[in-house]
């Protein structure tokens, strides 16, 4: 009997099932494909869970939780001190510690590792060899990073805002700013993790040099910094005038979200073109 050969150029049909060997399980497997919609959902879910499992390590969680605990302690300290304007003091704390340090650092640690860890340990090949759109991989990785970052950033900062005694406006503004900021940073740092081998170094350089220094120097530069958008949210909610916080709320919310979407698309494109070990 002549062995079948697959059609060339057209999508090949299923090959004969791999036969069972002595002592093995069931017979024909593999040829049947599941429905397109259900399969797409399953694939997204599988990649999401894989990345989530990979990036959450005890060390990372403890270190980031410790940073969050510091935010809570600072909020408590501000609340207990006799500030003439607790709203101003609270907004400044959330801006300086929460939005300048905690949110971007947490996002950097988890988002850059979402795909970066797979590149570093040479396991990306097991995702790359599958017929899954690269943008699906990027989106699942970003969502996994978001799943970790949102609670690790938002919970301690909202608690900190509440402890300052500045009122509901700061608490609400902090929650929105955290969500918006984390989404933007996660999108950006996911791409960074895939693009650079030393993503943490590049990310820290962005946070400290660009956001902490260059962006404060001019209004134009600040528009290229996510922090200008998150502090604008705080400013809009509380009425406290923060440096470079001049954007209307709709813009301050929309731009980081758009940045995240653009970065996920870029990451997908980058994945398709990257050399895989």
């Amino acid at each position: 009997m002549t062995a079948p050969t697959p059609p060339v150029s057209a999508r090949p049909g299923p090959p004969p099932p791999i036969p069972a060997v002595a002592g093995s399980g069931p017979g024909a497997v593999g040829a049947a494909r599941s429905g397109r919609g259900a399969a797409a959902g399953s694939r997204f879910s599988v990649i999401y869970r894989l990345v989530l499992r990979n990036q959450v390590t005890v060390g990372r969680l403890l270190a980031m939780a410790a940073l969050g605990a510091v935010a809570v302690l600072l909020g408590l300290a501000v609340g207990l001190s006799s500030q003439s304007d607790p709203v101003d003091a609270g907004a400044t704390l959330i801006d300086r510690y929460g939005l300048q340090l905690l949110a971007p650092v947490v996002a950097l640690v988890f988002a850059s590792s979402a795909l970066g860890d797979l590149v570093d340990d040479h396991t990306l090949v097991y995702l790359w060899m599958r017929p899954v759109p690269r943008v699906t991989v990027a989106a699942a990785a970003a969502l996994a990073a978001l799943t970790v970052c949102v609670p690790v950033v938002t919970v301690p900062l909202v608690l900190s805002a509440a402890l300052t005694g500045a009122g509901a406006a700061l608490v609400g503004g902090t929650a929105v700013a955290c969500l918006v900021g984390v989404v933007g940073y996660v999108g950006m740092f996911c791409a960074l993790g895939l693009r650079f081998k030393r993503a943490l170094v590049w990310g820290i350089a962005y946070i400290l040099l660009w956001e902490g220094f260059v962006a404060n120097a001019s209004k134009t530069a600040s528009r290229l910094s996510l922090r200008a958008y998150t502090r604008s949210v705080i400013s809009e909610y509380t009425g406290v005038g923060l440096d470079q916080a001049t954007l209307p709320l709709a813009v301050a919310v929309a731009v980081p979200l758009a940045v995240a979407v653009a970065m996920v698309l870029y990451t997908g494109r980058r994945l398709a073109r990257t050399d895989v070990d």
Binding site: T5, V8, S9, V21, R33
Partner: protein, 322 residues
Amino acid sequence: MTTIAPAERAVADGSGPRPMITVDSVSKWFGDVVAVSDVSFTVGPGVTALLGPNGAGKSTMLRLLCGLVAPDRGTLSVLGRDPRTDLEVHRSLGLVPQQESVFDAHTALEFVRMAGVLHGVEDPDGAARHALALVEMDADDRRRLSTYSRGMRQRVKVAQAVVHNPWVIVLDEPLTGLDPRQRRHMTDLFHSLGGQGRCVIVSSHVLEEVERFGSDVLVIAQGRLAAEGDFHAIRDLMDDRPHRLRVRTDRPHQVAGGLLAAGTVVGIRLTAPDTVLVDTTDVHRFRRCVAAVARDEDAHLWEVIPLDDDLDSVFRYLVGRP
């Protein structure tokens, strides 16, 4: 390049299977290092071994075939499609990568099942169990992959490469870390897959390993295709090349004279008071002759050692042939 039996033999005249893999003048370099240089070949159904010493460019060639890297020059196709840009071809392509790393936190079943889900297999759990059974792994083993031995990981990697029932299976040094029994089992599995009309490409730097894989061989050395075709013809060619051996004896002059008189050597040189270097084109005849010469000359043979039997020298010879 040495063409023993043209790979396109049956393809050109339409008498045999069509190529499932076509590589046309492909080159790939990393910085200043040329990893693959102007390589062309076609591969049809069955098991084909990619043979070459370490650093010859085998892994780069396999990565090119899977689309993991893009060629800097030339074109290649798998089942008529570009593996770099066409996701569809990955439905029909399975890879066992060279690196040992797997998702350490997963169990074998989770790892292989995940591959099935990502390939859109209808019953990923059943397919994963079957694939693991093919490589003689226990699907119900709850241990994480991080606790597995090198050989066990290797078998799990093979399982994830076949879980979706692919047409083309690319295996980069798949027998590494396996014990002899598992090697035999895995070789049988590859033959079984190839016999079904699948294209199975297996790389190795071990000549004896390749001998068991089958008769079609691509020999790659220094990034170039050094030979392709029937393994046994290549093996004969390797055996026919000049060999150098070192003979240590208590009567080197007499032994050297006896060997020359017997006509089994093409060159001979005394390099030490007890050592003779011999060049011969027929090792088997030389080995039979040297004992007889020593007996006739009443000499003690302390050592007869081939000096260039390693694969590197074989490949250098093949590459250097006109």
